[in-house]
C-alpha cells in the first residue's frame, strides 16, 4: 500500500490481516494482551484473598488457642497429715477412699497458707478462705488420686504441682484484669494480688500443659482441668473403624464398577447414586445412624463404633469417586498389554492397573479420612456429645465404650459459659488441625513413594 510504484494495483488489506510492521502492536493484539493481563490479575487477586483468609484463620486460632497448652500452676510442698487422710492408720486404700476431695482440699488450703506464712506474703483484706480459693477444685481430686495410688505418701511432705483456678490462669493469659475482677463474683483483686506475689517468688508459673492432651473433659466450673484425652482416643478409634471398613469396601466397589461390571442402565443408576451420596448432608447420615445402628441394631450410644460406622457411610462415596478416577487415569494400553500376553482380567487389574492407580487411591482415601475426622454433625445425633470422663478401654472392646470426638469436643466447649473454654476450644482446633496436616503429609509422602511414570 505504501508502494509508490504500483499505486493502482495495491489491493486493500483483507480484513483480519495485519498490514503494518511487526514492531507495532495492532489494535486486536493490544486488546487480547489486555484481556490476558486482566485475567492474570483476577487470578492473582483470587489467590491473594484465599491466602489472606487462611492466614487470618490461622492467626485467630493460634492467638486464641496456643495458650491452652500452658497452664498456671503453683509448685509447693504439701504435708499429708495421717490423722486426716488415714484415720485407721493402716494405709489401706479402700478405707482411705472414704476421705473425699473436700478433705484433700483442706490439706491443700493449709499447705498454701503455710507457704504464704513462710514466704511472708500478706495481702490486705484477703481472708484465708479467699486465699485458698485460688487453688482449683480439681487439684484436690488429683492429689487424692495420687495418694490413693501410693498410700505410703501419707504422713510425709510431697512437692506438688497444684492447678490454680481458671480465673487466676486467665489473669496471666490476659482474660482477667484487676478491673474485671472488681465486677466478677468468682475472683477478687486481692486474690490476683496474691497470685502476683506468688509469681514474684517463683512458686507460681505457667508450665507446659500435657494434661490438655491426656486428661478427660472437666465440668463447667473447672475449665483449667479440661483436656482432650478422651476425645483424641475416641477420634482415633473412629478412624480405625472407618479405615478398616471404608477402604476395603470402597476400593473393592470401585474396582468392580470400573473394571468388571457390565455397562448398562443399572450400573449407570448406581454410579449416579454414588455421586449423589457424596453430596448428602452429613447430618442426614447422623439420623440414619441413629435409626439403624442405635435404635434398630441396638449398638451403644456415644460409642466410637457407631460414629465409625456413620463416618464410614460418609467416606465410602468419596473413596469410590477418587478410586474410580484413579483407575480411569491408567492408560488403556497397559490393560491391552497385560491381556495381550494372556493375563486374565483380574491379573491385569491387580498386577498392573491397581499399582499404577495406587497414588490416586491413597490420596483419595486419606482425604476422605481427613474429612471424616473433622465431621461433627452426625456425631451429635448419635450421642457423642455426651460428657465422658472415663477413658475407653483398649480396642477392640474399647470401640463399644462411650467416648467423645475432637470436633464434637470443640463444639461442646464453645457452648459453655466460662470464657476459659474459648481458649480450650481453640486449643482443640489446633490439635485437630495438626492431625489433619499430619494425615495430608502422609498422603503426599505415600503419593511420592508410589508414583511411577509410564
Amino acid at each position: 500500500m505504501t508502494d509508490a510504484t504500483a499505486p493502482a494495483a495495491a489491493p486493500a488489506p483483507r480484513p483480519g490481516h495485519t498490514a503494518g510492521s511487526l514492531l507495532t502492536l495492532d489494535k486486536r493484539t493490544r486488546a487480547r494482551n489486555a484481556a490476558e493481563a486482566r485475567f492474570r490479575l483476577y487470578g492473582a487477586i483470587a489467590v491473594g484473598i484465599a491466602l489472606v483468609a487462611l492466614v487470618w484463620l490461622l492467626i485467630s486460632i493460634m492467638s486464641g488457642g496456643l495458650s491452652a497448652f500452658r497452664q498456671t500452676m503453683i509448685t509447693m510442698p504439701v504435708y499429708l497429715p495421717a490423722e486426716e487422710l488415714d484415720e485407721a492408720g493402716n494405709r489401706n486404700p479402700a478405707e482411705m477412699s472414704r476421705v473425699t476431695t473436700l478433705g484433700y482440699a483442706r490439706v491443700l488450703d493449709q499447705a498454701l497458707i503455710a507457704l504464704m506464712a513462710e514466704q511472708g506474703i500478706a495481702i490486705e483484706g484477703l481472708s484465708e478462705d479467699d486465699a485458698s480459693d485460688i487453688i482449683s477444685q480439681e487439684a484436690a481430686a488429683q492429689l487424692r488420686n495420687r495418694v490413693l495410688a501410693n498410700p505410703d505418701l501419707v504422713g510425709t511432705t510431697v512437692e506438688s504441682e497444684v492447678l490454680t483456678n481458671g480465673r487466676i490462669d486467665g489473669y496471666f493469659k490476659g482474660r482477667v484484669t484487676m478491673a474485671s475482677a472488681e465486677l466478677d463474683s468468682n475472683v477478687t483483686p486481692e486474690q490476683l494480688r496474691l497470685a502476683d506475689a506468688l509469681r514474684a517468688n517463683g512458686v507460681l508459673e505457667k508450665r507446659i500443659n500435657w494434661a490438655f492432651l491426656t486428661m478427660p473433659d472437666a465440668s463447667d466450673q473447672r475449665p483449667e482441668a479440661a483436656g482432650l484425652g478422651v476425645a483424641i482416643l475416641g477420634s482415633l478409634y473412629m478412624m480405625l473403624v472407618v479405615l478398616v471398613l471404608s477402604v476395603p469396601i470402597g476400593v473393592a466397589a470401585s474396582i468392580y464398577l470400573e473394571e468388571f461390571a457390565p455397562k448398562n442402565r443399572f450400573t449407570d443408576l448406581i454410579e449416579v447414586n454414588i455421586a449423589n451420596l457424596a453430596a448428602v448432608p452429613s447430618i442426614v447420615f447422623g439420623i440414619l445412624g441413629l435409626a439403624i445402628f442405635i435404635n434398630f441394631a441396638g449398638l451403644p450410644q456415644s460409642a466410637p463404633v457407631v460414629g465409625g460406622l456413620v463416618l464410614t457411610l460418609m467416606t465410602i462415596p468419596t473413596i469410590i469417586i477418587a478410586t474410580r478416577a484413579a483407575l480411569k487415569a491408567v492408560p488403556p494400553s497397559i490393560r491391552d498389554a497385560a491381556l495381550g500376553v494372556g493375563a486374565s482380567k483380574m491379573q491385569s487389574v491387580f498386577h498392573h492397573v491397581l499399582p499404577l492407580a495406587m497414588p490416586g487411591i491413597l490420596t483419595g482415601t486419606i482425604i476422605g479420612l481427613a474429612q471424616a475426622l473433622g465431621e461433627t454433625a452426625p456425631l451429635l445425633l448419635i450421642g457423642m456429645v455426651a460428657f465422658v470422663r472415663n477413658y475407653p478401654s483398649a480396642p477392640p472392646e474399647g470401640i463399644f465404650d462411650p467416648a467423645s470426638a475432637l470436633p464434637v469436643q470443640v463444639y461442646n466447649w464453645t457452648q459453655r459459659g466460662d470464657p476459659a473454654f474459648v481458649e480450650r476450644a481453640s486449643g482443640a482446633i489446633i490439635v485437630l488441625l495438626v492431625f489433619l496436616i499430619l494425615m495430608n503429609a502422609v498422603a503426599i509422602i505415600l503419593r511420592r513413594r508410589f508414583e511411577r511414570r509410564w
Binding site: 492408560p331 494400553s333 495381550g340 500376553v341 494372556g342
Partner: protein, 265 residues
C-alpha cells in the same frame, strides 16, 4: 515395491494355522468387517494392508479375541485355530491369548523392570519351574527380539526408560516369551524411526521360523519387504488375498491396483 527379492521369494510352508470363514464384526450398528474368509499359514508372515478404517486392525484383534474387551463389538462367523473354533463357548480367551500373542501399535511396556516385563507372561502361565529357567527364558526372548546386547547390563532398570524402538522390541520379547504359536502385530513400526523400523522388520523375518506372524501395516513397502502373503482390506471387505509378490506385481482386483499405485487410500 521395487524390491526384486519379492518375486523370488516363495512360500514353503503350507499348513493352515488360522482359518477364518464368514467373519462379520459389528460395532453397535455399524458393520465393520463383512464376510471375511482368510487362511493364515504357519511359519509365514502375513500382512494386512489397506486404507485407514478398512477394518484390518479390527480383524486382527478378532484373532486373539481382544475385541471381547469392547462391549459393543459383536463377532459372527468362524475362526479356527488348528481346527478349533476360538469363539466356542468353552474357549477361555486367556488361554487363547497365551497361544496367540500380540504386539501393539504404541510400545506399551509395563512400568516395571525390563526383566519383569519379559518374565511376566511365563510367570502367570507357569511356564517355568525355577528362577534359573525363567532367567533362561528372559535371555532367550530378549535375544530373539535383538535386544539382549543392549539391555543385558540393566535388566533391573525400568522398561519405560528405553528408547521407542527398544521399547517396541521389549514388547516383542514380552510377546515371544510365552512361546505363542501365532504373533499378531498391529502396526508395530508406526511409532518408530526408520532405523528402529529396520531392526523390527529384520526381527519379524527371523520370527517367522518359529511362529506364524500376522502384521497390520500402513506401509506397502513394509508389507512387501517382510511378508510372504498379503491381504488387502477395503471398507470392511477382504478384497484380495494371495502371495505378496502376486499382489504387488499383478493384482487381480482393480481396487487393489488403485491402492497399490496410490490412487485410493
Amino acid at each position: 515395491m521395487n524390491d526384486m527379492r519379492l518375486v523370488e521369494r516363495d512360500v514353503d510352508a503350507t499348513d493352515i494355522k488360522i482359518k477364518a470363514r464368514n467373519v462379520q464384526v459389528y460395532y453397535g450398528a455399524s458393520h465393520a468387517i463383512k464376510d471375511v474368509d482368510v487362511d493364515i499359514l504357519d511359519k509365514t508372515v502375513t500382512a494386512f494392508i489397506g486404507p485407514s478404517g478398512c477394518g484390518k486392525s479390527t480383524f486382527l484383534r478378532c484373532l486373539n479375541r481382544m475385541n471381547d474387551t469392547i462391549d459393543i463389538a459383536r463377532i459372527e462367523g468362524q475362526i479356527l485355530l488348528d481346527g478349533e473354533d476360538i469363539y466356542d463357548k468353552r474357549v477361555d480367551p486367556v488361554q487363547l491369548r497365551a497361544k496367540v500373542g500380540m504386539v501393539f501399535q504404541k510400545p506399551n511396556p509395563f512400568p516395571k523392570s525390563i526383566y519383569d516385563n519379559v518374565a511376566y507372561g511365563p510367570k502367570i502361565h507357569g511356564l517355568t519351574r525355577s528362577k534359573a529357567e525363567l532367567d533362561e527364558v528372559v535371555e532367550k526372548s530378549l535375544r530373539r527380539a535383538a535386544l539382549w546386547g543392549e539391555v543385558k547390563d540393566r535388566l533391573d532398570k525400568p522398561g519405560t526408560g528405553l528408547s521407542g524402538g527398544q521399547q517396541q522390541r521389549l514388547c516383542i520379547a514380552r510377546a515371544v516369551a510365552t512361546s505363542p504359536e501365532v504373533l499378531l502385530m498391529d502396526e508395530p513400526c508406526s511409532a518408530l524411526d526408520p532405523i528402529a523400523t529396520a531392526q523390527v522388520e529384520e526381527l519379524i523375518d527371523e520370527l517367522k521360523q518359529n511362529f506364524s506372524v500376522v502384521i497390520v501395516t500402513h506401509s506397502m513397502q513394509q508389507a512387501a519387504r517382510v511378508s510372504q502373503r498379503t491381504a488387502f482390506f477395503h471398507l470392511g471387505n477382504l478384497v484380495e488375498y494371495g502371495e505378496t509378490g502376486q499382489i504387488f506385481t499383478n493384482p487381480s482386483d482393480p481396487r487393489t491396483e488403485s491402492y497399490i499405485t496410490g490412487r485410493i487410500g
